[in-house]
């Protein structure tokens, strides 16, 4: 015979007895016997699914049966099986200061104290602290998301301030995460900011993602976007996605367990260079504000578990016409990462998957025979008033920012119909902003029979950096 020792609060359900003798030889059998004799104990010991409740601990003599053979643990003559309730409690998770701060949430039944507790317990990871990450982090922090992780290893630049509202002029030159953490702490000291001052890559993504409930992707490049998607699928996390370009944006929630993933929508990245980045193509400063706030809204809805999320829908935003359209997205049954027969079962090399990165492409181009000239050599040629033609293949609105006064201005797209303005007899130097478009122009001219044509390495931007500090950079 073994003895079951009942804790004080359960004794009234067993007629006041402190212990009950049982004949059973296992813990499970002993509990069955106990409940058969005192049926009122059932609801205190077992949940609706018939499992022993989480706040009921079982000890054989002084050992937790979880570390023995659980409910299969054997009971011998003279053993004592103690039922030990978990005694726990504590103050309301929200302090009086928090209750005042979140009062406009608390008075809405859809949020209330319960919802605000969920927000406080939530852990959200923002990938990127740029145009999208700024409004996202600001609103998540203001709303009371308890833990916000941010991955970014950039430094605040003047050109960020037009849209990245986490930063001010005095932050220029500082690491973004340092400035962001300070700003968020000032906005809401209840938020814990966890900075990851690193580049997200295949070696660290899974480890970081596992620490969070929701991932919000605010990246500006395809390799990271595919990396975030695949890491979310592999860790089972929802990916609150947005992307922006010039006047247009997209947003969705990719969550493989409930709907399509990013790869279901875009199985393959575009060829490198086809879709310009914001640095190349520009972006209306307010647009990431719109889209980042949509990401924050979706994130908060997921935490609260309310409303209809963007799972299975792609929201298209056109700021110029101010139209919002919606595309229905379906799960791709052949998806290589979230389909039933995935071929991508661990993270891959995303730089390679998305094609050679642009800088490397330019380097490769020069290696394959596009002749180049340095900004120093160009300065020498100009100083000596050598006889050559400088061709600027940027767009007209770029000429307006800065340009060489003597250059022949032919935007890259119009080069074919303007060939007659150039002579194969002339020494030609072609430039653009960074050297990428001009490399294409040089290739095109060489194919058209021009031999004395060279590409200005690093473009007018390098000229502004290394030769003429008065020239504006953009």
């Amino acid at each position: 015979m073994a003895r079951i020792l009942l804790p004080t609060p359960l004794r009234p359900f067993a007629g006041g007895a402190a212990s009950v003798e049982v004949a059973a030889a296992t813990v499970a059998g002993a509990l069955d016997e106990l409940v058969a004799r005192h049926p009122q104990l059932r609801k205190h010991l077992y949940d609706d699914a018939g499992k022993v409740r989480s706040f009921v601990n079982l000890y054989k003599n002084d050992e937790d049966v979880r570390y023995l053979e659980k409910e299969g643990t054997r009971l011998a003559e003279g053993d004592a099986l103690s039922i030990v309730p978990s005694i726990a409690g504590g103050a309301e998770e929200l302090s009086n200061e928090e209750i005042r701060r979140y009062s406009r949430h608390l008075i809405m039944p859809e949020v209330g104290i319960e919802g605000q507790r969920k927000l406080k317990a939530a852990r959200v990871l923002a990938i990127g602290a740029g145009g999208l990450g700024s409004p996202l982090a600001v609103y998540l922090a203001a709303a009371g998301i308890g833990t916000i992780g941010i991955v970014d290893n950039d430094v605040v630049d003047d050109s960020n301030l037009q849209r990245q509202i986490l930063y001010g002029s005095s932050d220029v030159g500082r690491p973004k995460l340092q400035a962001a953490a300070e700003r968020i702490r000032d906005m809401n000291p209840n938020v814990e900011v966890i900075p990851y001052e690193t580049r997200l890559d295949s070696s660290n993504a899974l480890e970081i993602f596992r620490e969070y409930d929701i991932i919000a992707d605010g990246t500006d490049n395809f390799p990271t976007r595919y990396l975030v998607n695949d890491a979310c699928v592999l860790t089972g996390k929802p990916n609150v996605y947005a992307s922006i370009f010039r006047f247009e944006g997209q947003a969705s929630v990719f969550w493989a367990e409930k709907g399509p993933c990013y790869r279901c929508l875009y199985t393959e990245p575009p060829p490198p260079g086809l879709v310009p980045s914001c640095a190349e193509g520009g972006v209306l400063g307010i647009l990431p504000g719109l889209l980042g706030v949509i990401q924050a809204t979706e994130t908060i809805k997921l935490v609260l578990g309310s409303g209809d999320s963007l799972v299975g829908r792609l929201l298209l935003v056109d700021a110029l016409s101010m139209r919002f359209r919606e595309l229905k997205l379906r799960k791709n049954p052949h998806c290589v990462v979230c389909g039933p027969n995935p071929t991508v079962t661990r993270l891959i090399d995303y730089e390679q998957f998305c094609g050679i990165p642009q800088e490397a492409a330019i380097a490769a181009a020069s290696a394959t025979g596009i002749p180049e000239i340095s900004v120093q050599d160009l300065k020498g040629m100009r100083d000596r008033r050598e006889d050559f033609v400088l061709v600027d293949v940027r767009e007209p609105h770029e000429f307006a920012i800065c340009a060489f006064p003597e250059s022949v201005k032919i935007p890259l797209g119009t080069l074919p119909q303007n060939l007659n303005r150039l002579s194969t007899a002339d020494e030609i130097v072609v430039h653009c902003k960074m050297g990428g478009r001009s490399a294409k122009a040089v290739q095109f001219l060489r194919d058209a029979g021009f031999r004395k044509v060279r590409n200005l390495s690093g473009g007018i931007d390098r000229w502004a950096q290394q030769i003429d500090p008065k020239m504006p950079r953009y």
């Binding site: 706040f55 978990s86 998770e93």
Partner: protein, 139 residues
């Protein structure tokens, strides 16, 4: 209804002050009845890491205090804990973890200074806490 000697109430307040900004926790030992009579306290260790808002007692400590009570021929009447910078009202979290028949005494500690002490029991019918008066005994 629960009766507690003034000196024991002061002991609860002092415990809350000493562990501030963390929560303190202890057991109430005494005699059942109406009023239940608290005659001794047993300070206990708070094993939670986020002790500013939570308390938890290890199962072995719980067994120890049950044994202590029976050695002293007393009943384990319930537990007390402090609410640092919070009112002396049980939280939703307290309710989720409460057991019927136990008495729960809560002591507010504001900015390190102990304040109100209240007592509660969980209603078996409604699953809600009901406040019970504390009779302060002089001795």
């Amino acid at each position: 209804m629960i009766s507690v000697a003034k000196v024991l109430l002061e002991e609860i307040r002092a415990h809350g002050r000493d562990t501030y900004p963390d929560e303190c926790v202890g057991a109430l030992l005494g005699r059942k009845g109406d009023p239940a009579q608290v005659v001794a306290l047993e300070k206990m260790e708070n094993i939670r890491t986020e002790r500013a808002r939570r308390y938890e007692i290890s199962p072995l400590d719980y067994l120890r205090v049950e044994r202590l009570a029976s050695e002293k021929s007393l009943a384990l009447l319930g537990f007390y804990h402090s609410h640092p910078d919070h009112p002396a009202a049980p939280s939703a979290y307290d309710r989720e973890h409460a057991f019927p028949f136990f008495h729960y005494v809560v002591c507010a500690v504001a900015a390190g200074r102990p304040g109100d002490v209240t007592a509660w029991t969980l209603s078996e019918d409604t699953g809600e806490f009901e406040r019970e008066p504390i009779l302060e005994e002089e001795t």
